[in-house]
Amino acid sequence: MTQQSARRTEPRGQSVLPLTHPREPLLSLVDISLARNGHSVLDRVSFDLGRGETLGLVGESGAGKSTIALVAMGLLRSPAVTLEGRMQFAGHENLLAEPEAGWATLRGRRIAMIFQDPASALNPCFTIGRQLGDPLRRLLGFDRAATRRRSIELLESAGLNDAEARLAAFPHELSGGMQQRVMIAIALACNPELLLADEPTSALDVTIQAQIMQLILSQVRARNASCIFVLHDLALASQVCDRIVVLYAGQVVEAGPTESVLRRSLHPYTNALKSCVIEFDTETLTPPEGGLPAIGAMPAGCRFAPRCSRATALCTSQTPPLRSLEGRDIACWHPG
């Protein structure tokens, strides 16, 4: 623990807003650090998201992808969690310091989320109409008739036919794909500026995945909203994201435009992730050995060093700063 707090004071590079960032950010996360029970979960995570942009958070489970989404949704505000850094959003200087009353006007209304598993995110006890109508009535003050009208519109634009009849249906009466369409309709009910989609298709078949991804993209574009996808599939990320942030053990290791990060990757971890993706002509896979370090037992220096083929003495002693290189941000002593 002492080692960890010592490293906490080290600068993580001077480049808070390097070249690769969008001109007019809607959301800026600045040096977000999060600890649970004193154990670091996120370590100085910084990135920007422009208006109308789609950004993908990628990395292995435990890297902190979903945690970032929950922070951005204001859902990690418990005494057990210590949160440092700033979250700038559409003119708000720091939403992390915002009291719950302030969040209540943002959450669901200007920032909304699509959860991973629609079957468990939807309440099995209430009809689709009730769950879709809730944000319309509570956040936008619609009356009964207007709620019903708008609900039908939303379901139709989410690609559900027979929308009027669906309002009376319970979640279990719908297939997984249709449930996810309902989740999308609920998330978009108040026309949010920022949409967070945490693995929105990992519970679905590939054919339905393609439909749902197209639906999310078209709805986000139609509203000029911004979207953060949490994804584990790099190929899918390359198809839907303008920019990519690669996370490892709670730190940003490489971030920038999708083309640079995924086509000309410089970080050994990004390359390692790419080497795990199977394409139809793949003959052999060479995944990195082992897994993420345990929370509370982070190695000194670069956290990826124990699994990295290029690691040197420098890597195991000093944390690499996040710096700009060839059109992206990267935290590595030996990029390339």
């Binding site: 439909q211 790099l234 198809q239 839907v240 086509r263 896979l285």
Partner: protein, 327 residues
Amino acid sequence: MSEAAPIFRLLDVEKVYQIDRGGWSRLGRNPPRRLAALDGIRLTVQAGDSVALVGESGSGKSTLLRVLLGLTESSDGRALYRGDDIETLTDEKRRSFQRDVAMIYQDARASLNPRLKTLDLIGEPIRQHALCPESELRDRVAALLARVGMPADTADRYPGQLSGGQVRRVAIARALASEPKVIVADEAVSGLDVSTQAQLLNLLRGLQHEMGLTLMFITHDLAVASYLCRRIAVMYLGRIVETGPTKEVLRNPLHPYTRALLAASPRFFEPIAETLPGEIPSPIDLPPGCRFAGRCPRAAQDCRTHEPPLATTRANREVACLHPLID
């Protein structure tokens, strides 16, 4: 039966669930409603072969596995293991069947008793088949753990203390414990990180080569199928619509459904594919004709009236389509 009998042979296997007995209406008695989970499945698996079963959820993949394992009785047709009907194996043959055919379940964590230590979980099949004296059990479990890349001290841990990837490895070690000749795996690598998935695929591939295992692998991921299995069977609504060598089928699909599945798989930097419209329809009371006709971009008039049989089109390839994609 002779030694050359294939490991599995399915002869027009059908599994029909009766949903209700049919009610009365003003016009008279309605026929009972039937759900055809499997319909006319014909498949042969030779020793040492690796076969992937792919298709969307609801296509009957898991039901087919249950029939293969004798967990579900087929309603028609025959399922043979080395020439013997799986449903009517003699006690002695059933015991050897249970030892020779091991299953890796879809949800590894749920398939392992949370109150048993890894030692007992992996030791259970060894004790059941009395493969070694109790005094050697620990060494034997340690060897199996080493085989799947886990340290020996895992034996004293409970499933709750293991990560998702580790639990899958334990499930694989448990499947290997009875020294099986056939491994049947249901989505054994889905829902994992790409890195863990790649590690497990390499492990399964290695085991298959070293131990000469026959592998039946259910997956919804065509890329996983291409990496692990020599042959592929694509299922749609209870029928096999295309089979053949995996590489050939994926390079050159003959069935429009196979092509649609391929197009929907994410590929680096390509725009999201034009999607297949709609979802897999309900398997209750299917209309006549080809089951895929409602979603098929090439469906013609005859597709809605004639049901295409699974027919050989060229060497090693079979397709059930009236208008296959001929290059």
